[in-house]
Symmetry: C2
Subunit: 356 residues, 2 copies
C-alpha cells in the first residue's frame, strides 16, 4: 500500500487545492466521493473535436506535449471533475518497444508489424531503453502539472502487460483476440518472455510519469475478460503484481475489465484502488475484492443517454451502494456521442451528494 508521496515531489509542485481523489484512493474518509470519467478528455467535448479536426491525426495530439496538455485540461474547465488524466494511449508502449501503431479513423489501432514468432519477441527493445523514448509523455505531464497549478490531481496510466501483448500479437482490436490467446497455448515460454519485457518497460514508463508529476497511476487491463481464470492467474496477474510492487511513490489503480473472476486476487495486490466494470453490482464487487481497497466505477456509460432524473437517481443509488472507500466513475470509457449536458448532470449529481 502506497500511502505517501515522495517528499521531493511535494516540494516541486504546488499544494493540491482538491486532493479528494488521493484521499479516497488512500482509504481516508472523505466528505463526498471524488468523480472523474474514463475518456473524459476526448470527443464528448466540443473543444476537443475542434482541436482534433485541425490536426493530421490522433497521434499528433498524443505526441505533441502542448496539445496533449491542452486536451487534458479541457474537462477540468468544462466538467469540473476532481481529477485530470493525461491524454495519451496505452499503445505508446508497444511502439517504443519496436512495433509502431497507426490509429485509423473509425476503425481503431492497427499495427503494420506484429509478433509472429519467438524470434520477434527477442528483437523487442525493453526497459529504460524503450521508456526513455516516451519523453513526450513526461513533457506533457510536466506542462499539465504547471497548467493545473494544483487544481486537481493528475492521473498517469499504462496498459497492463497482457493487454499490450494482445495488441502486439493481434495487430488490431478484435472481438476474440484469438491470435494472441493462441500464442499463449502454443508458445507459453515465449509468452512469459514477452510479458516480462512489457512489464519492465511499463515499470520504467510509470516511474517516468511519476517523476514528471503524475499523482496516481492507473493500469488498464482492457482485455482481461477474454482469458480463462487459469490463464489470467498465469499470464496476467504475476506481471500486474510486479508493477504494483515496483510503484511505491503514488497510489495505484488496477482496472481489469470483465475479469470479475479475478477480483479476489486483484484485491490482494499491492495497489490502492480496484476499477469495477458495469457487469458487477457494488455489493458483489465489495464482496469479491474484500474490504481493504478503494473501489472505482461503475456506472453503465449508456445511462448517460437517459433522462436527467434517471441519471441522477441511478448515480445516487450507486454512490450509496458503494459507500466508503469509493471513487465515482463509469464502468468503462464514456461513449464519444454522449450528450455533454448529461455528462455534467452525472458529475453534478455526485458533487451534490452527501452521506446521510
Amino acid at each position: 500500500m502506497n500511502n505517501e508521496q515522495s517528499t521531493s515531489q511535494e516540494k516541486e509542485t504546488p499544494t493540491l487545492k482538491n486532493d479528494l481523489l488521493l484521499r479516497a484512493a488512500r482509504g481516508e474518509t472523505v466528505e463526498r466521493p471524488p468523480v472523474w470519467l474514463m475518456r473524459q478528455a476526448g470527443r464528448i467535448l466540443p473543444q476537443y473535436r475542434e482541436l482534433r479536426a485541425s490536426l493530421s491525426g490522433f497521434k499528433e495530439l498524443v505526441e505533441t506535449p502542448e496539445l496533449a496538455c491542452e486536451v487534458t485540461i479541457q474537462p477540468i474547465d468544462e466538467l469540473g471533475v476532481d481529477a485530470a488524466i493525461i491524454f495519451s494511449d496505452i499503445l505508446v508502449v508497444p511502439e517504443v518497444m519496436g512495433l509502431r501503431y497507426e490509429m485509423i479513423p473509425g476503425k481503431g489501432p492497427m499495427f503494420p508489424m506484429t509478433i509472429q514468432l519467438e524470434e520477434d519477441v527477442d528483437k523487442l527493445i525493453a526497459g529504460e531503453k524503450a521508456a526513455v523514448q516516451l519523453d513526450y509523455v513526461y513533457k506533457a505531464i510536466r506542462l499539465t502539472k504547471t497548467a493545473l497549478n494544483g487544481r486537481v490531481p493528475l492521473i498517469g496510466f499504462a496498459g497492463a502487460p497482457w493487454t499490450i501483448m494482445a495488441y502486439m500479437l493481434e495487430g488490431s482490436g478484435s472481438k476474440t483476440f484469438s491470435k494472441a490467446r493462441r500464442f499463449l497455448y502454443k508458445k507459453p515460454i515465449s509468452s512469459h518472455v514477452l510479458l516480462q519485457k512489457i512489464t519492465e518497460t511499463t515499470i520504467d514508463y510509470l516511474h517516468g510519469q511519476i517523476k514528471a508529476g503524475a499523482d496516481l497511476v492507473q493500469i488498464f487491463d482492457s482485455w482481461a475478460g477474454i482469458l480463462t481464470p487459469e490463464q489470467y492467474k498465469t499470464y496476467a496477474l504475476p506481471y500486474i503484481r510486479q508493477i504494483c510492487d515496483a510503484i511505491t511513490e503514488v497510489p495505484v489503480t488496477v482496472f481489469a475489465k470483465n475479469a470479475w473472476f479475478a477480483l479476489p486476487e486483484i484485491g490482494q495486490l499491492n495497489c490502492n484502488v480496484v476499477g469495477i466494470d458495469w457487469n458487477t453490482t457494488p455489493q458483489e464487487a465489495r464482496r469479491l475484492v474484500g474490504e481493504s481497497k478503494t473501489l472505482q466505477g461503475n456506472l453503465d456509460p449508456c445511462l448517460l443517454y437517459a433522462p436527467e432524473d434517471t441519471i441522477c437517481a441511478t448515480t445516487h443509488q450507486m454512490v450509496r451502494d458503494f459507500g466508503d472507500k469509493y471513487i465515482c466513475n463509469l464502468g468503462h470509457g464514456v461513449y464519444p456521442d454522449t450528450p455533454l449536458d448529461n455528462v455534467k448532470i452525472f458529475v453534478d449529481a455526485v458533487k451534490s451528494f452527501t452521506f446521510e
Copy 2:
C-alpha cells in the same frame, strides 16, 4: 422441468440409437458425458467450405432445407459428435418479424432497416403469423431427422429476446451495442413491448421446430454480458422465463454468454441445461447455478490450437471438474480456422473418458 417427450413424436421418429445428450440433459447418470460443439456445422469442415463456395451466399444455405440438412449432418459423419444442431441463424426471427438481414462476408450480419422509434415496434409482425414463415427451417429439421435416422438427437435453437432486440436496434454486430442499450434507458415501455413480441414469436418458432422433430432446444443469449445485472433482471430474464415455461415437450438449454452475474437466477429457470462460457471455472459455475441443472461447456475455443497433449489433458481435467450432470462443449462457437484434426482430438478425448 421437461422430462418427457410427447408420445406422438416418439411414434413418428425412429428410436434414438445414441440418446446420451437427452439423458444427460435430464440429469440421468450416463457412462460418459455427451459431446458436441457450437458451430460444429460450419467452416471448420472442408465439406462445408466446398458447398458454401458453390452458393450465392450464407442465406441460400440457411433458406434451402436440403442444403441446411446436408451441412447439419456433416459433423456427425466427420467428427462423431453426440448431437446434431440444425444449421440456421438466430436472425431468421427478426427477419420474419419485418427486419430483413444480410450476411456480409467477413463483416457479419447487417440490417438495412432497424428499429428507431416506438412506432417501428408497433409495425412488427409477431407470434404465429411471423413464425409460420419459418417453414423452411421446419422442413430442414424434418429432412434432417429422416437423414439422421436416429443416429443422434437433433438440437433446435433460437436467440434470446434481448439478443434479438439488440440486433434489431443496432442493425449489426457491435462491441458495445450502445444504440440498443440506450433504447432500454430511453424507451423502457417500448422495450418491453418489443421484447414481448419477440418472445411470442420465439415460442411459436420453437414449438414449430419441436413439432418438426427437434429433440432439445437451446436459447442463445449471445449479448447477455453487455447488460448490467439490474438490466438483465428487467429486460432479459422475464422473457427467457416465458420461453422456458412454454416449452414443455423437450429439454431446454439456456446459454447466456458472459452473464456470470445472472447464473443464480438462470439456475432457477424452468430449463434443464445451463450453458457456461470459458470465463467461469466448472466449480464456480456449479456453485452459481446450484445443483439442479445439467451444465454445458466450457472449453476455451482457443485451446483447440494447442498441441495434442495439452488439448487432451485440459479436456479431461474439465470433464473431471464438471463431474455429474454435464454435457461437454466449448465455451463459445468453434473458431472457423481451428485445425480439423484438433477438433477430432477434443471429441475423441471426451469419448475415451471414463469416470474413475
